[in-house]
Point group: C2
Chain length 482, copies 2
């Protein structure tokens, strides 16, 4: 790096008063991730107002050899937007770029700058009778740029795909400051490598996403929600396949909840009520949607499928939400599992996926394997069965101290779980990304050919390694940090 | 390149009698593309039996510095699988690798080797009540590997997307002979750059696709087909939007046909009959599909939409196919446009796309512009309105000689059309790829930042430039061929 003072004065000259700060108090909230697991230091925070400023700023960093850590809403789960502790890098906040550049409600397309917050995007779309078909817990802070850089998931992936499926076009600033303009939405375009796809999910290590053209769908008009009792997770998967075959265009959610999780939730939420009278080893929460013209036929077909599944012994019992209020109550049970489990004591959580067809087998093998290897712990698995994405929590043995356990045995358990997932050809990061949290694990367990390809591409697009160093791309064997 | 004799004897030792030939007679059909526009020469044709052999063969080529031209069914449209005339390269045929490695009809997944022919894939899927939702004219020869390398399109893109959307996983051999194994289908996987997406559509310039995991859908049970008369292509687009909003999960095809094309087809096929009594400036062929449980409601909704469109003056007239036979007849009219136009005399065809919302404007501007710039010619546009993918044909002035005109004025017209498409932010290759046919045009008109990114990636993944040289990736300014 060249003289930091000259870099800072160049940045101030470029971005002006609103565009740069090195005030420790103003910087502090953005140097720690929201869960408080990672903390770093930086020369300052740059907040450019538009793509041209991002471009000039990145070119300046390139000239001064200053590493850049891009950040959106700072609500990531893997420390991907937190700088390291050395303090040599500069934080690049995209939050100020929150304009909606174009909105074609007829074509179902919206061009958002990187700093647009997901919830605002939802609201803008809804006003025109449309919807953006991706949502997640952090929607009040997560930005379009962050969602793209991490290829975010959420609860609608079963039918609509991850963020990758929503992106029609992208604008990004490359390591040398050049602007890649791929915003135009073309349904068919075979002019070579799909650079947009390469940038999505690259966590700011190949370029800085500055804007995107996103697809919007007609608003969902009606939904049918059912709670179903089952004997096993294998039966849940068979039911899922049946519904996918008969209601392919209407099945929007299929979540599985084991008895243990449901009872933890009922203890945690005193006002909540179990949807079914008896306890079942597994529960499925199913949601189908349709236009108001379709919904009666959708409900009928779902009823038929569940009736025939009960006759076949695949389903124990089922109940439909009688109204929107009850539908919300069913979803509240599902959404309260994480806090309810946390209230039970120290635990480690895993964001993992396996091929959908192997998920029942994985869950049935992994829980006893963990409990045997770490006596006193207990494993629970729940979540998006339709995506092969299981939330796998392991609770500490009674009496364990949270911080100590989570940093000791907890880490050992995570490595054990990641080994198992790898055996099942699964992913150690289903939706939260790699960031700094899992980079070493990716290096340990990733396919060496893939890792070497990733390093080649990183080297070609960011030869000085200034874009989000220390994140995502594992070190080559024998290389020193970062 | 090292001594060709020693290379050939090494390849023979590796692949055996069935795996290599340099017999000119056996080689001849594969050294010219099927349309006879490109012809080349090669040291020989290698036909490995499995991925391990491909890997060892590519490593051997790397050691001997021998360029590789991969080939599937040799039915490409852009000369991407034809070697140059120097004769220093080796043709790598994937046709022998035609095994289906795994078929999970329950999960809707099939793992095919690169040489599996599209029509065989359709038949295997149909036997299990499933379908592979991509089809095109060359299905009797096109292979899975070729379809992936060119990101093929076809007639079902409106609803199901291009080949890219069908690929769940990929296996490929890289320039150094290493095997990239990304076959496992994970619905959610955020472990870094999406290498699969980078390989799809890269025309064999970054790696050799050896196998893929493809998605299968439940077989279509029923369809409703209608032929619609309209005043303008703008009205056709408005109708398309209306149907997309009301029948989002059922609209499978929306093709537009101008009066000129329909009357050329009726002249060309004496037994054919116009679906509507009167002539309309534009026609739309619409197809909706659904399960047998859904189809009545789909038909009713389509009838309602067309009735209200007629009331609003958006649609002149419309007729539903009374049975499967009549539905086939409607599609025959659409599929006969290309041969009917060809029978009229010399012509140049363009595989182009523009943003869907700009397509009416483009068609209305481009036809008079071409006819004015090249007096005596006449332009026609038809095709996949829903994809923004227009087949734009320009017919020669009366009396022109085919070969001479196509190589002279025809080429000038193509450059003129490509300039226009670029003004509309469209693509000079919607579905046929770049190959050797359009590489110079891509170099002339492509965004310099994108081209430079492509060259960086190509350099990183294939530093010696041995994978399909002279195809797809335009030369850097000032560089010599290839």
């Amino acid at each position: 790096m060249s003289d930091p003072g000259s870099f800072v004065s160049d940045v101030r000259a470029l971005l002006g008063e609103r565009g740069f700060t090195s005030d420790p108090e103003l910087m502090s909230p953005w140097l720690t991730d929201w869960r408080g697991r990672f903390a770093g230091a930086a020369i300052g925070i740059a907040s450019p107002a538009n793509t041209q400023e991002v471009s000039a700023f990145v070119a300046l960093c390139d000239r001064h050899d200053v590493p850049i850590v891009p950040q959106g809403g700072n609500s990531g789960m893997s420390g991907g937007a937190t700088p390291d502790t050395a303090g040599h890098s500069v934080l690049l906040s995209l939050r100020r770029m929150d304009a909606i550049r174009a909105f074609d409600s007829d074509a179902g397309q919206i061009v958002c700058e990187a700093g647009v917050i997901l919830q605002n995007l939802h609201e803008v779309a809804e006003k025109e009778g449309l919807r953006f078909p991706l949502t997640l817990g952090g929607k009040g802070s997560a930005t379009v740029g962050g969602l793209i850089s991490t290829n975010a998931g959420g609860t609608q992936v079963l039918r609509h795909g991850t963020m990758r499926a929503q992106v029609l076009g992208i604008e990004a600033v490359l390591a040398n400051g050049e602007i890649f303009n791929g915003l135009t939405a073309l349904k068919k375009d075979n002019r070579g490598f799909d650079l947009k796809q390469l940038l999505i999910g690259s966590e700011g290590t190949l370029g800085i996403v500055t804007a995107a053209n996103l697809r919007l769908l007609p608003a969902t008009e009606e939904r049918v929600v059912a709670w179903i009792g089952l004997k096993s997770i294998g039966d849940a998967r068979r039911l899922l396949r049946k519904l996918q075959a008969r209601l392919p265009d209407h099945l929007e959610g299929f979540e599985v909840v084991p008895a243990h999780c449901l009872s933890a939730v009922l203890d945690h939420l005193p006002a909540a009520k179990a949807p079914l009278e008896r306890e079942h080893a597994w529960n499925a929460l199913v949601e189908c949607t349709g236009t108001s013209a379709e919904i009666d036929s959708v409900r009928e077909r779902l009823e038929e499928q569940l009736a025939s599944a009960m006759e076949d012994g695949l389903v124990n019992d089922a109940v439909f939400a009688a109204n929107e209020r009850q539908a919300e109550d069913f979803w509240t049970l599902r959404d309260s599992i994480a806090p309810a489990e946390r209230a039970l004591g120290p635990a480690v959580q895993h964001d993992i996926s396996v091929p959908v067809e192997k998920m029942p087998q994985f869950v049935e093998a992994a829980i006893p394997a963990v409990e045997e290897a770490f006596p006193g712990t207990s494993g629970v698995a729940f979540g998006h069965l339709g995506d092969g994405n299981v939330h796998f929590h392991v609770l500490a043995e009674p009496g364990a101290t949270r911080r100590e356990w989570e940093n000791g045995t907890g880490k050992e358990i995570s490595r054990f779980v990641h080994d198992l997932v790898t055996e099942y050809e699964g992913s150690i990061s289903a939706e939260h990304g790699i960031g700094q949290l899992k980079r070493d694990e990716l290096g340990r367990l990733g396919d060496p050919v893939s890792l070497s390809l990733m390093r080649s591409i990183k080297g070609a697009l960011d030869p000085k390694g200034l874009l989000n160093p220390g994140k995502l791309v594992p070190l080559a064997p024998g290389d020193a940090k970062p």
